[in-house]
Amino acid sequence: MTYRDPAAEVNGAAPPSFSDHLARHHPDLLPSARRLGTAPAGSASAAAPQATTIVSLTYAGGVLMAGDRRATMGNMIASRHIKKVFPADNYSVVGIAGTAGLALDMIRLFQVELEHYDKIEGTPMSLDGKSNRLAAMVRSNLPLALQGLAVVPLFAGYDTERHVGRLFSYDVTGGRYEEYEHHSVGSGSVFARGALKKLWRPGLDEEQAVAVAIESLYDAADDDSATGGPDLVRQLWPVVYVVNSAGNREIPERELQLMARELVDRRSVAGRES
C-alpha cells in the first residue's frame, strides 16, 4: 500500500473525522464499503455469527452496560467467549447486537474515530457528538442491513458537561434515540427489558446496578436460546462496564462470579419453574 505525501494531503480541508478521511483516501478500508454481490436476501444472516443481548441502565452517578458471551449462527452456538461491550473512549462504552463481524469492525472504526478527533482537535468530542458519529456509521451500513447483515449498537456514556450518565439506542437506518433509565437490544432484549422494568429503580448504587444487569441477562438467557447465561463449567460471566465521572471501568470477573453464583443459588433455592 502506498501512502500519499502527508504534507500535500493536509493542504486541502482537514476533517477531524477519521472515517471521512478513510472515505476520501482509503475507501476500501471502511467496513461499510463491503459489497456482497447478489446474495439471496435473508440467507446472509444465517451464514454469519450473530451477537445478542446487551442491557444498559443508568444508576446514581453513571451508566452501566452489560452483554452476554454467546454468538450464534443459525441454531448453532458460534462462540461462547465473544465480547460485545467495548470501551469507545475514556467516558463511553458501546455494545453491539447483530452481525458480529461487521459490528466488531464498526466498533474498531468508532474507537479510532473518537481518538482521532481528540488528537486532531486537542479536545475530546462531546457525548452528543459521539452518539451522532455512531449514528452515521450505522446509517452507512444500511445497504448491508437490507441484505440481512444488520448491526444495532447501544451507546452509553458519561456526559462531562451535564454530569450524568446517558444512553442511546439506534435503528438500522441510523436513527438515534436517547433512552432513559434503561434499555436493551438484541434477540433476548424483550425478556431482558421485562426484567429491567421490574428490577430497576431510581438511585441504584453501582453494585446494585451490576446485580440488576446480571439478573436481566439471566432472564434473557432463560427464555432466548441465542443468549448465553452464566457458564459455571467454563467460568464465563457477562462483560460488564460502568461509566461514571472517573471514566470507564470493567467490573472484574471475580466480582461478577460472586454475583452470578449468588443469583443462581437464589433461584435454585426458590425452586420455581419460572
Binding site: 502527508p6 478513510l22 479510532v112 488528537k119 486537542g122
Partner: protein, 267 residues
C-alpha cells in the same frame, strides 16, 4: 526576451537552507529527553492552546519548533498516517521509525521541489518499556533525519540549551527531576547576563563580554522559566498500569506543572 540568471544548485540549496534556518532560529526552544519514567517533552511556549507538543499514537509523541501552521499540518498528517496504519494493520505496527521516515520524505520533497521550504524542525519520540527501547528522531527542514539518543534540543538557541543539558542530563532521574533539568537548560538562554542573551544586548557583537557586568567572578543565576511560559508533556513508560490506557501521552497542566517545578523545595 530576458535571460534567466544562472544559479548553481549549490547556491539554490544553500539559500533555501539559510532561509529555513533563519525562520527556525526565531522560535523558542524545545527539549525532548528520556528519563527513567518515560520521555519528557518540554517547550518554552507562552500560549496555553497553540501547542508545540502533541500526541501522535499510543507510544509516540511529537515536538516541533518553527512556523506553527506548518508543523501543525505535519502533526495532523502524522496522526492520520498513524491512525490509518494502526486501523488497517494493528496498533503494534505503528512505529516512530515509520512515521519519521514519512516525515523525512515529505520534508525532503518540499525542500527540493516547492517554492519555499518548511521552516520547521521536528522530533518524533517513541517510548519503550525500557529506557534502551526509547527512540528519538530529529527531523530538519530539508528532510534530514537523525536517530538521537538521550535527548533532542531544537529551536532558536539550541546550542546553549544543548550544552547546559549535556552537563546535567542523567538517565536515572524520574519525570519531575527530568522536567526541572530541562527547564533549567531552557532557562540558560534567558539569563540577562548569560553569554547567549543575544536579543537583549544593545550593542551587537559585544554582548557576551559586556553582559557579564564588569567582571563579576560568577555570572548570576538565570531566572527560571515559570509554569506560565512552559508547555510540558510526558510519554509514560507504563501507561496501562498507571492510568489504565494504552495512550502514553499526557499533557501536564499549569497547576500540576507549578507543583512539579516547586517539587524539591515544596516536599
Amino acid at each position: 526576451m530576458t535571460q534567466q540568471f544562472y544559479v548553481s544548485p549549490e547556491q539554490l540549496m544553500k539559500d533555501r537552507a539559510d532561509f529555513a534556518r533563519k525562520g527556525i532560529a526565531r522560535g523558542r526552544s524545545v527539549v525532548v529527553l528520556t528519563c527513567r519514567d518515560g520521555i519528557a517533552l518540554v517547550a518554552e511556549n507562552p500560549s496555553p492552546s497553540l501547542h508545540k507538543l502533541g500526541e501522535i499514537y499510543d507510544r509516540i509523541g511529537f515536538a516541533a519548533v518553527g512556523k506553527y501552521n506548518e508543523f501543525e499540518s505535519l502533526r495532523q498528517a502524522g496522526v492520520r498516517y498513524a491512525d490509518v496504519r494502526g486501523y488497517s494493520y494493528s496498533r503494534e505496527d505503528v512505529s516512530a521509525r515509520g512515521l519519521a521516515s514519512v516525515y523525512a520524505q515529505s520534508l525532503g520533497s518540499v525542500f527540493t521541489t516547492e517554492g519555499k521550504p518548511f521552516e520547521v524542525e521536528l522530533a518524533v519520540a517513541e517510548v519503550g518499556t525500557e529506557p534502551y527501547e526509547d527512540h528519538l528522531y530529529r527531523l530538519t527542514f530539508d528532510g534530514s533525519i537523525a536517530d538521537e539518543s538521550n535527548f533532542v534540543v531544537m529551536g532558536g538557541q539550541a546550542e546553549v540549551v544543548r550544552e547546559a543539558l549535556a552537563r546535567t542530563w542523567n538517565q536515572d532521574t524520574g519525570f519531575p527531576e527530568a522536567v526541572r533539568t530541562a527547564v533549567a537548560a531552557l532557562s540558560a538562554t534567558r539569563s540577562p547576563a548569560g553569554p547567549a542573551a543575544g536579543e537583549a544586548a544593545p550593542n551587537g557583537n559585544g554582548s557576551a563580554p559586556s553582559g557579564y557586568g564588569g567582571g563579576e567572578a560568577v555570572p548570576p543565576e538565570p531566572d527560571r522559566l515559570g509554569a506560565g511560559l512552559l508547555e510540558v508533556a510526558f510519554l509514560d513508560r507504563s501507561p496501562l498500569s498507571s492510568r489504565g490506557t494504552v495512550r502514553a501521552f499526557r499533557r501536564i497542566n499549569t497547576v500540576e506543572l507549578d507543583r512539579l517545578l516547586a517539587g524539591p523545595e515544596g516536599d
